[in-house]
Amino acid sequence: MKPIKVSLMSGSPKPLSSASGALLDSLKPRLSDHFHVSFHNLNNTSVPEESMESFINSDILVLSFPLYVDGIPSHLLNCLYEMEINLKRHPRPDMTIYAIVNCGFFEGHQALPAIEMVKNWCHKADVTWGQGLGVGGGGMIQSLSGVPDGQGPKKNFSHALDALAFHINTGSEGEDIYISPNFPRIGYKIGAEMGWRHQSKMNGLNKKDLDRRLV
């Protein structure tokens, strides 16, 4: 039997240590052993040749990217356009697309317009939509790597990944899922703002510099 090919593509502009990549790392062990899985970084304005070849030959694409200004980061948008053009030459209506969008805000549902854009892309590119997952609290995803699956602040996150993996493994379409961390929103806000102050201090700035106005 021909193996099912799955492309996991990170659309973060960061090639290493991105939340988008971490989400794919968490998804991968949940995928069927029968899949032939490859990983690709779409961190530039054009799809690398090798990634494009893998994509066009895939049965399943899982696209993971950060929410930028309520939408798809511009470099990834350009990549999706290139992929659409390629799909016009090599139609793959049987290919199924799943999207994971992480946002720095607490509420995963703020990723809804971006997930709809991927659905609209599927329509234009004539591929099959599978399911979308909007993950809130993107700023803490990487810090949760030591937390056991399904526990504490990872509860919603783990259950959502299980549900997404189920649909990928069965090649089926699922309802979109939007989650927030199992963690108080105020705690997330305080932690994030401490992080900004720490980073500005590392850059030689003081707390008030964060408020700088140029007009």
Partner: protein, 167 residues
């Protein structure tokens, strides 16, 4: 000041809008724009300005000087074109890294005691109803996050239909 962000080629833009008053600043695609790299330097290194010093590094300041922002963009999948989106991705220095709650959701705090109106013109002869619905949601979300008021969201088959609508 009125700020126009568009993705038309220069000749076409000049032909369509030949006599813009001096109160307009126009952000066009000169082919040199760099992508946002997600470094947040515009918040924690050079607050208020992008660390990438190409011709688009001062978008936050330009937004703060604008009473109205007019976006003219080919509609891509219910959103902006890659160039227009690139400009917007490079504009987050306009807001503050800290969070505020609006509409019972987490958003960013204002950096400036200022707001502007936004008019968006999406063009394209194959915009679907789903794309229009998504684009409306996107512009509403942008207006909440960038603390602006929506003046209008328009869909036209061709940019020629915009005419004097932006003035």
């Amino acid at each position: 000041m009125k700020l126009i962000i568009h993705d038309l080629d220069e000749l076409k833009f000049k032909r369509l809008f030949p006599d813009l008053p001096n109160s307009f600043r126009v952000v066009s695609n000169d082919g040199t724009i760099k992508k946002c790299v997600g470094c947040f330097g515009c918040w924690v290194k050079t607050p208020g300005a992008c660390v990438i010093r190409d011709n688009y590094g001062d978008m936050g300041e330009w937004l703060a000087k604008s009473d109205e922002v007019i976006i003219i963009s080919k509609c891509f999948y219910g959103g902006y074109s890659p160039f227009v989106k690139n400009v917007l991705d490079r504009s987050i220095s306009y807001i503050h890294p800290y969070f505020a709650t609006r509409n019972n959701e987490m958003h960013h705090k204002k950096r400036y005691n200022h707001t502007f109106e936004t008019s968006v013109w999406f063009y394209g002869d194959d915009i679907t109803e789903d794309e229009k619905a998504t684009a409306n949601k996107l512009v509403v979300a942008n207006s909440i996050n960038m603390i602006s008021n929506i003046k209008g969201i328009h869909f036209v088959d061709s940019v020629e239909e915009i005419g004097g609508g932006i003035l």
